[in-house]
């Protein structure tokens, strides 16, 4: 009488891939329990070998041998390419960011230079400075009596026009025209 197997043993038996004995597998026929690699004469000769040297009914089935190396190589290559690609992309983006920062700094510097130059031009062209320089060089501002005006002949009637509406538009036009 076979002692009852414990639950743990049953579980282990299932998980370790141990083949069941024909007796414990009701659906499997006795003929199917022949070893795959063995010959049919082996069972016949079992009667001749001692009982304890017989091949066991249960044995660990070896896994089918597969070629793992190409898979591993391919995996490593793919992962490697992906890692290198991501790193390169990151590097390129970082480089772009640094370049953008550099250009922004340069742009800011140019803007500051432009502002300084604009201020310098405004200072140099201010009427006060020009007048001072002119006086220093011996020039003087002409007085009304320094200038001669040609006499104007014509009608003596006063011609005062009431033209107030077009003023702003005209002034804006002049502004627009002089804008660089």
């Amino acid at each position: 009488m076979t002692p009852p197997r414990s639950a743990a043993a049953r579980t282990m038996g299932r998980r370790s891939g141990v083949s069941r004995s024909p007796a414990t597998h009701p659906r499997r026929k006795s003929g199917s329990t022949k070893p795959r690699t063995g010959k049919s004469g082996a069972s016949r000769s079992s009667s001749r070998v001692p009982r304890h040297r017989r091949r066991p009914w249960l044995r660990v089935a070896s896994a089918p041998r597969t070629r793992r190396l190409p898979f591993l190589v391919a995996s490593f290559v793919i992962v490697g390419v992906l890692v290198v690609g991501v790193a390169s992309l990151q590097a390129v983006v970082s480089q772009g960011s640094f370049r953008t920062q550099e250009l922004a700094r340069h742009n800011l510097q140019l803007q500051q230079d432009y502002g300084r130059l604009k201020l310098q031009v405004a200072e140099l062209s201010s009427p006060g400075r020009i007048a001072t320089e002119a006086r220093r060089m011996g020039f003087h501002v002409p007085q009304p009596w320094d200038m001669r005006s040609l006499p104007v002949k014509g009608s003596s009637s006063v011609n005062v026009r009431a033209d107030s509406g077009s003023g702003p538009a005209l002034s804006l036009k002049s502004v627009l025209e002089r804008r660089p």
């Binding site: 970082s94 405004a122 201010s126 009304p144 003596s156 005062v160 009431a162 033209d163 077009s166 804008r179």
Partner: protein
Amino acid sequence: MRAGTATYRAGRSARGRGPRTPPRRLVAMLVLFVFGFSGILIRLVQLQVRDAPSYRALARDQRVRTIALPAARGSLFDRNHQELALSLPAKAVYADPRLVSHPAEMARTVADTLKVDFAEIYAALHRPGPFVYLARGVDLQDAAALEARHLPGIGFLSESHRYYPAKDLAPQVLGFVGVEGTGLAGLELEYQRLLAGRPGHEVVEADPRGVLIPQGANVDVPPVPGDDLVLSIDREIQYRAQAALAHAVKRNQAKGGTVIVMDPRSGEILAMADYPWFDPNHFSQGDPQALRNRAVTDTFEPGSVNKVITAAAAIQENVVKLKRRLKVASSYRLYTKTFHDAHMHPKEAMTLADIIAYSSNVGTIEVAKMLGRDRFYSYLERFGLTQRTGVGFPGESTGLLPHVDRWSGTSMGTIPLGQGIAVTPLQMACVYAAIANGGVWVQPRLVNGIVGADGDVRQVTQSRTRRVISTQTAQTVTRMLAYAVRVGTGKEAQIPGFWVAGKTGTARKVNDEGTGYSDKYVASFIGFAPAAYPAVVVAAVLDEPSTVYGGIAAAPLFRDVAHFAMARLRVPPAPRPSTPPHAIPAG
């Protein structure tokens, strides 16, 4: 073997029927682990759930920085797009005095680098608290030089600094900006909202050394720069007006003066100067009295320049025929007060043109009486002496003209002469501009256009206009004013090659107590040229000149300014206006 088995079975039966109970230490371990893991779990919940926002914020603060991006303040241009005021980026230098170990040495370094006063820096470094400003509006190059020294406890903030490249050109008109970038006076204050723009900010990630991480958080709210203002001021005319004003003030030993140059047709103010002035780059060092734009904010009793309103009203209402000769004495008693002409003369026949040309006080009072106080007051109102001009300037005065209901018995003697009322120089310039403009009053303005950040010029609101007198009346008054310059009190205002129309004014000033008149005067001349085709109106006012008469003190100032303005604007000479009917032979 059998005996052992029996003992085991006996033991099992002795301890109970179920499975064997774990030893106590296992239970204790279990309890310990349960408590331990529970504690960890609770702490995890605390850190990851309850306190997560604060820790997230703490971590964020350690690496994320918000950099304020100040908006560039809009520039002020003259009518020809020349810069009158512009802002440039600058730095504010601050210090944490607690981190400064050698204040004297630090103050010396900062003062030398930034070219500022050592004592101020030294005093600032001894102030309590973690933050003191050492300098504001520092040039970027100077700030960079100081930053390169890596001084402990010194920091920098971005800001902008306002520059007025023409220095003391039109300072009262432009105004000035405080260190915080806010307009404090003048157009800088009036158009603060437009000029200031909207500041932005940038959120960046930085490593512990402060180096920015390029791909870190980069929230960027760009600043919106302020709009630029294109003023009606002409830089060259403004300079010449100021130069002539300074010369006239010195020549006449006056206390101060005002000049306004205006285009009568558009209302554009080409120049507006007040002496004394100041440099807006260093406005804090200026005389507080010089900061006001007195052409707009202060009033004066106009004196005889106001007679033009009396004459215009009389002609418009047809109360005096142009050829009518009035017998004008040299004095006139009205209630309790006797009014005199400037010079004693026998009773003389004068037309209205003579009264204006020779600025007869008595003749003007007689004309005003014919007009009547209500009609006269209505013309003062029409010419804008009871309201602001609306030029768009902070603190503009309305003038002081009592309502006709509150006029005294002598008001009809004083107000037609320009005494007993107070107006701004700009209000009076607008009166003459209305006559030069064919009887149409035009609202004066200082701004021609607004240039947005995109470069588009936006049109300003068109100047208000209203007809005050008819074109024919305006032409007649112009002829009288031209006659006054040709033969009357305004001879000093004549410009070679041009015919000028204008009127002198000599007004006594109210004493300091406000109880009567002092022996101080305001001399003025307001006119336009060329008389036949007016291109510019010039108001010249001198405060307390040694030579009190407007025809002597202020008329030459008018001449200098008007002559230059016409040359600058390339105004061609115009024909002479016809002579109005007169009784006194032209000398």
